[in-house]
Every structure is written in structure tokens, then in C-alpha cells.
Amino acid sequence: MSARAAGGRALHAVPESTTDKLTIAQAVRDAMAGEMERDERVLVLGEDVGVDGGVFRATEGLIERFGPQRVIDTPLAESSIIGMSIGLAATGFRPIAEIQFMGFVYPAVNQLFAHAARLRNRTRGNLSVPMVVRMPYGGGIHPPEHHSESYEAMFLNTPGIKVVVPSNPYDAKGLLTAAIRDPDPVLFMEPKRIYRAFREPVPRDGYTVPIGKAAIAREGEDVSLIAWGAMVRVCLDAAEVLTRSDVAAEVVDLRSLNPLDRETVLASVAKTGRAVVVHEAPRTAGFGAEIAAQIGEHALLQLEAPVRRVAGFDTVFPLARSEQYYLPSRERVIDAVQRVLSY
């Protein structure tokens, strides 16, 4: 069975003729362009998203097509980008805010957590914040300081903001489209390391990949590898290598971290009895802990071995020359699998 056949995409199969082969970055742009076309309330704003087309070119061409009233270069102020988006969203617009790198989201967390995440609840539904916050995250591109971070855990302990992460172009377009149409704030994390790593057919028309549903990126019976974003590919690579030692690893691509598709995770673990969670963020109090805790809680008796976590170390993300020591690698995943198998 192909690495993808069992994945979410099979559900959304479309005729070849209506697809383009796109990278993740292109699929992201395509989703925004499509939704801006479809709904004039949709706006894009952020640093360098206009004339420059974004530092990763994810908004390239949008200002030419939709004009500077809908593709807005903001001053260098993350708290304003989110704070103004709240004002826009609460009064009828559907802003897509870009934070240039997840490493620079900190100045915006007050607006995100104290307001965007709470406005619906605070007003008992009277006002809401239909907003998407896009941000490239994660390591692997050897950039300067603060450009490689993965801060999802703090969003996941802060109720009110959905969190999604695509691992491939099809999901990128479908999840982002779903996020833009969602009535609540959605954090859309973009795995910058694989922005243009590969192309896949992506339907030209708009479609959604539902938020809250994981995908089985590869089926297997021996161990469940649970990951999201760029780490899904690392797991798929590891799974491929593991076939050589006759180990059939299943790869669960969470796609949505909040809400979490616990059912799919537990079903996979029920089948394999073993789980390895893989993420880039520091290990301690990373979202891997939550996955491990939930598996322990709901599948204790099915576990043949402790859930292992392959994660970043509890250190600052290193500068470029030491990056390789930090990031979870295929080898580390394989090593963890071997440990859970030999437990």
C-alpha cells in the first residue's frame, strides 16, 4: 500500500485534470487567493506581505490581484497585527494575519490569548473573532536566531484558538481554506522547512480538509508514529527504512492539534500497542506529553511499551551550525522505535 493511499487525501480524491502540482507555499497562497476571490471580507495583513509578497513568497501576487486595501503591509508591530485583526474580525472582516516567524509571536500573545481566544466566550457569543493567524514555524533551514522555533504548546494550553498544521500541499490548501471559513480564531502553522520541498497535485477549486481530523499517512501494525508538520515526513522516512527490518510503522499525521483527533490516535495505538510521538519543540511540557498522557489514560492496558517521545532537547534552539544536534532526525525516530519494540 502506498505511503499515502490510506491518508486523508484519498477521501478528497479529485479528477487529475482540475489539479495543479503545487508546493506547500504555493498551496497556502492558492487557498488565500481562492478565499479572497470567494469572500470579499477576507483580508491579508502582516509585515512584508504586500509588495514583497512575504519573506517566503506565500502572499506573492496577492496585492497585485486584490489591491492594498485587502493585502495590507503593516508597521513592524506584532501586537498590532493581531490586535487590529481582532477589531477587524469582530466587526465583519475575516483577516488572515501573518506573523513572519513563529519566533516573533511573543509580542502578540497578549492579544492572542487575552482577547482573540476569549472574545466569544467573554461576550457569551455576542462578538467573535473569525481570524486566521499564519506563521512559519520549525527548524531545518539554518537561519539566524529566533527563526526556527515551534511554540505550539502554549497555544494548546490556552483554550479558544484552534491549531492546525499541514504536512503536505493538499492539506495545506484544504486546512487553510477550512481555517479561513471557520467562525473562530485558528492558528495555522506552516512547516517552513518543507515549504518547497516537494510538489503534489492540488485541486484548483476550493475545498476544505476538516479541522479536528487526523490522517493515517501510512498504515502499519507494529508501532504508531504520531507527528505533525515537517516531522510527518521524518516519520515517513523512518517508516520506509524500518521496512528493511520488517517493521511496519503506522504514521499518524495529526493535522489538527486543537481539537485533537484522539479517536484516530487511540485506534492506531490499539492496533499497534506501541507509540512514538515526534515533535520539534522542547520535550518537557511539549505537546508530546499530552499525547503520551492521553494514550496512557485511555490505552494503558493496550500498551506493550511506554510511549516514547522524540523531541527537541530542553535547550534554546541552536544556531545554524549546531542545528543538526537538536532536531529530531530519522535516525532518532528509528532508534526510538527499536526501543519500544525491544521493551
Binding site: I72, G87, A114, H115, R120, R122, T123, G125, G160, P183
Partner: protein
């Protein structure tokens, strides 16, 4: 041209009604007797419902309450200068202006008593909920102002904040962005001299707060915030400017918090002797009353009727507030998202099982 002037900064202050109740006729707005009495009534109602909240709090029928006593002129002046469709973005000491903009008083009470439904305003009331994180609301005001500019709607966003809130980064970012985008907004600082125990001169080294507008390339003006007419005129001008598309304005209203910071505070710990008394002499309500009386527009019997009306209204609102059935336990879940995700359904059921057991 070795040492040249590249910018000249001037900041003005507007006053119309003085402590004795005399007005500057040249600046006096064209308000008829009814309108002037209306402003007075607004302020009296505020004073009454604020007093009542303090009483309720002492009786354990109210949560922590931030009093507005002394700041009624800013709130009435701004509220009455606003147009029907304008948005209000309050901080947390704007009960007066909120009430005048249509937020039912019993909901204001409910919010401060600890009931989220107090921030669910009736259809058509264009008002953000209270913003407790100091300064954060400035950004929303800039965003709503941008929204109104982009939509072309004939409305303006009016945002409030305290003197202390001008020290937060959000104040700066919001005003800077508002000016860059030329949004339809007015920013009103209620400079009541204190941020809890920190006096203005420890909050900023500037002579005024209005001059901070020079950092944004927007007009800034200081008004006597205990002079309801000056507040009204300055706000009306600023709103007109924004409505015309000529961009935002910063207004500093100089006033004074006559009460404690909140009912959890004891201002006598940090205030210099005599300060409160001095400001009591500049009471915004008495000032307008003197003017009305001098002009033959107000007398004791009208006052008695108004006090009676205020009392009745406040009591009816207290009743409406106290008659609200408690929120159901599930209410803590039901507005988290448009649709309840499975894990919240599960948690809600856990809670319900516990509550019912």
C-alpha cells in the same frame, strides 16, 4: 543649513466651563437647554449608579467595582458627541459612557458581579466588552477604525484608556498604526492622575499626555476633563475629522478619580493629603449645575425630580440584575467555540455529572 528645525510641536488645551459655572461664550457649543440638562442628567445618573454599586459591594452583592466618581464629565461628553452607529471600545472604567451608549445597567452590574452574560449586549449596541488587560483595547480601537475605513461605513471607533495605559506598548503600536492607516478613530485618555498608586509624574516624564500625539503624526488635544462642554466639543470635532476621512485624533481629558482604584483598594495609603478635597472642589457635576442654575435652566424641584428618577432607575436595574437566574454550569463551555469540540463535550458532561450528583 547646519542646525535646522524639522518639526514644531504645539499642543493645546481646551476649557469652556469653569469651576464657577461660567462658560466661554466664543467656544460654547450650540446646545439647547434640553441638551444641557441632558448632560447634567447623564452625569447625575452615573453618580447614582456608581454609588449604588459601591453599596452593593459592601453588602456582598457585587464583585470588585472600579468607581467612576469624578470622571462623569468625560464619559457624558464623549458619549453625547458620538453618532448612532459609532463603536465604543472601553477599558474598564467606562460604565458611564457604556450605559449612555445603550449597555443596560443591569448587565454592567452583572459583569462586575462576576457573570459573563453582563458582556452580552443587546442587538445593535455597538460596544466592545470591558478590557481588563491595561492598554490592550487601544489596538482594538485601531482595528475597528480600520474596519470602518475599509468598509466605508459612516461610523467612527471611540476608544478609552487611562493615563496608566499610555505606558503600555499597545498604546503606542495602536496609535502609530491608526495614523499610518488614517483610520476612523478617536482615542480618549481619561487622565485621572493615578494608575492605582502610581501618580502621573511616575508614569511619564511629559508635561501632558496629549503631546504623545506628536509621536504619531496625529492631532492631539488636552481638555479639562471635568468640563463636560470642552469634552463634548473636542470629541465632536475629532469624530467629525475621522468621519470625513481625515484620520484619528488623541484626546487627553484631565480629570480625577475621586474614589479608590477599585473596591479592593485603599487610596488613602498613597495619596497626598488634601488632594481629593481639592479635586472635589472641581466636581464636574456641580460645575454644570451652577451653570444651569445661573442660566435659569435648573432649580431645586427639578433636582429633586431627577434624583428621584435616578434612584428609581438604579433600583430597577439592581432588581433586574439580581433577578437574573444563575448561569447554568455548562455556560462555562458553551461559548468557547461556535461549535463545541468533542473534548469539551466530554468535560462538560464530567462537570454536569458532578454537579447533578
Amino acid at each position: 543649513m547646519p542646525r535646522t528645525r524639522v518639526y514644531e510641536a504645539v499642543t493645546e488645551r481646551l476649557e469652556i466651563l469653569d469651576v464657577e459655572g461660567r462658560v466661554d461664550q466664543a467656544l460654547m457649543p450650540a446646545l439647547d437647554a434640553e441638551a444641557l440638562r441632558g448632560l447634567y442628567r447623564d452625569m447625575v445618573l452615573m453618580r447614582n449608579f456608581d454609588d449604588k454599586a459601591l453599596k452593593l459591594q459592601r453588602q456582598g452583592r457585587m464583585g470588585t467595582w472600579p468607581p467612576i466618581k469624578g470622571q462623569e464629565a468625560v464619559q457624558a461628553g464623549v458619549a453625547r458627541a458620538m453618532g448612532e452607529h459609532d463603536w465604543l471600545i472601553p477599558a474598564f472604567r467606562e460604565h458611564g459612557v457604556m450605559a449612555l451608549r445603550g449597555v443596560p445597567l443591569h448587565l454592567i452590574y452583572a459583569y462586575w458581579a462576576g457573570d459573563e452574560r453582563g458582556s452580552c449586549y443587546p442587538e445593535g449596541v455597538r460596544c466592545f466588552p470591558v478590557a481588563v488587560p491595561v492598554g490592550s483595547q487601544w489596538q482594538h480601537g485601531a482595528g475597528v477604525g480600520l474596519s470602518l475605513k475599509l468598509s466605508g461605513e459612516d461610523a467612527v471607533a471611540v476608544t478609552f484608556g487611562g493615563d496608566g495605559s499610555t505606558s503600555e506598548g499597545d498604546f503606542h503600536e495602536a496609535l502609530n498604526c491608526a495614523a499610518v492607516f488614517g483610520v476612523k478613530a478617536v482615542f480618549v485618555i481619561q487622565n485621572n492622575q493615578w494608575a492605582i498608586s502610581v501618580p502621573l509624574h511616575q508614569q511619564t516624564a511629559t508635561a501632558t499626555l496629549a503631546q504623545k500625539a506628536h509621536a504619531y503624526g496625529m492631532p492631539g488635544i488636552q481638555v479639562d476633563g471635568n468640563d463636560v462642554l470642552a469634552v463634548y466639543v473636542a470629541t465632536r470635532e475629532a469624530i467629525q475629522r475621522a468621519r470625513r476621512g481625515d484620520g484619528p485624533t488623541l484626546i487627553e481629558a484631565v480629570t480625577y478619580r475621586l474614589g479608590d482604584h477599585t473596591t479592593a483598594d485603599d487610596a488613602s495609603r498613597y495619596r497626598p493629603e488634601g488632594e481629593v478635597e481639592a479635586w472635589e472642589g472641581r466636581d464636574p457635576i456641580q460645575r454644570l449645575r451652577r451653570h444651569l442654575e445661573g442660566a435659569g435652566l435648573w432649580d431645586e424641584s427639578q433636582e429633586a425630580v431627577l434624583q428621584e428618577e435616578a434612584h428609581a432607575w438604579v433600583e430597577s436595574q439592581v432588581k433586574a440584575f439580581e433577578e437574573m437566574a444563575p448561569q447554568e454550569p455548562e455556560a462555562i463551555f458553551s461559548s468557547m467555540y461556535a461549535e463545541l469540540p468533542p473534548h469539551l463535550v466530554e468535560q462538560m458532561n464530567e462537570l454536569l455529572a458532578e454537579v447533578r450528583s
